[in-house]
Symmetry: C2
Subunit: 210 residues, 2 copies
DNA sequence: TAGATTGTTAATCGATTAACAATC
DNA sequence: TAGATTGTTAATCGATTAACAATC
């Protein structure tokens, strides 16, 4: 099996392209080009073609790309031709926000279970999902064959929760806790670090100092 | 003025190093090394030294780094030796979560005003900040000399809000709306794209296909 | 001094950009 | 055919890693 390594930046851009194509399709436009896409998302046309070239030939020389087709191809590449079951751990404000975030369901991410340590929260409903105690995390996540865990607990609890999620068989974790998690290499991990993002901004605002 | 360009990846890592050093300092440890830091945050020692070398010499050969000193140096580099005023626009669940996020205040990011388009929300309090109408955004943000805007409105409204923030004089925008914003080059912009992050995970989980 | 660890240079690796032949 | 646009190769640019002299 060919394991050509693909830049992560390419994957991020593909996700953005697909969202752009959804918009373009909604406008009823049939055909587009690397130049159009590039303009729509703020990259170069060569970048668009290079990114797509990792996965095949989706266009027609002299013509461009069929919008619907290309969109479908990219969704399939990203693994979005099927739904994904997600366990969310930590029903604080951020967990609540993510649980009710429309964008996830639109892309096929279904939050099938929510867990929290706070007895006050257990049994309450978020959307149509009941908040369950952490003690049920492994059992329920296993039962649902859930592939993805989202961690929105405080930093101090995050490693323990990640360990439980992995024990429950998830293949990927999206971590919002501001800590470096220790995770076996076969588990996919991404960190969304809210303060780090602000700090890149403040560095750049003052960057003329260097 | 020397304008040595510094990789964005370096800035992100510096932020993580500083957080790690806060922990180490809390444990009462006086001296550390690039090897210790590297182990703590999951990078190589050479990477740590290289990142620091962009900004000066902070260590002692044969000895290592003073924890408190290095932490302070990094915070200053990141622009965190002063507080930053933040305007948050969009008081939905995500806006609420960010408004009450302890981690921001801990690093010197003070949310000084919150705006929303929903008349139902206007006048309600989030923490000790009153939700104001969008019509007041420019005036209040200017008055406060706010440097940073956080956008947590729906995608369709995001560009308009970004324009207003820029008109109000912010220097940086953290955008959570899943759209590509059009922003003048002198304004710093970072996008936190929640679905894109999940999609990088699903791609990687299925990546053996390529 | 001997051992440890930095700061820095050179080598490697990887990603982006530019150019253009292929082809609709 | 002439014009347009892809797919792909080569050139460039940038970031990471490895190695080591400096030095505490």
């Amino acid at each position: 099996m060919k394991t050509l390594k693909i830049p992560e930046a390419t994957i991020i851009r593909l996700s953005v392209y697909s969202r752009h194509l959804t918009e373009v399709d909604r406008k009823g436009i049939i055909t587009t080009s690397s130049g159009n896409i590039a303009e729509g998302v703020g990259v170069s046309p060569a970048q668009v073609r290079k990114d797509l070239a990792y996965f095949g030939e989706f266009g027609t020389r002299g013509v461009g790309y069929n919008v619907k087709d290309l969109r479908q191809h990219i969704l399939r590449i990203l693994g979005l031709s099927v739904d994904w079951s997600v366990s969310l751990v930590g029903a604080g404000n951020l967990g609540l926000a993510l649980s009710t975030y429309k964008g996830f369901r639109d892309r096929g991410f279904i939050i099938t279970s929510i867990f929290d340590a706070d007895p006050q929260k257990i049994g309450t409903m978020i959307g149509n999902v009941e908040v369950m105690p952490i003690e049920k995390l492994i059992e329920v996540t296993k039962q649902n064959h859930t592939q993805i865990g989202i961690v929105t607990v405080p930093g101090a609890a995050a490693q323990e929760i990640a360990d439980k999620l992995i024990k429950a068989g998830v293949q990927a974790i999206l971590n919002f806790a501001p800590v470096v998690l220790n995770i076996p290499p076969e588990i996919e991990l991404r960190n969304v670090d809210l303060t780090v993002n602000l700090e890149v901004l403040t560095f750049n605002v003052g960057a003329q100092r260097f």
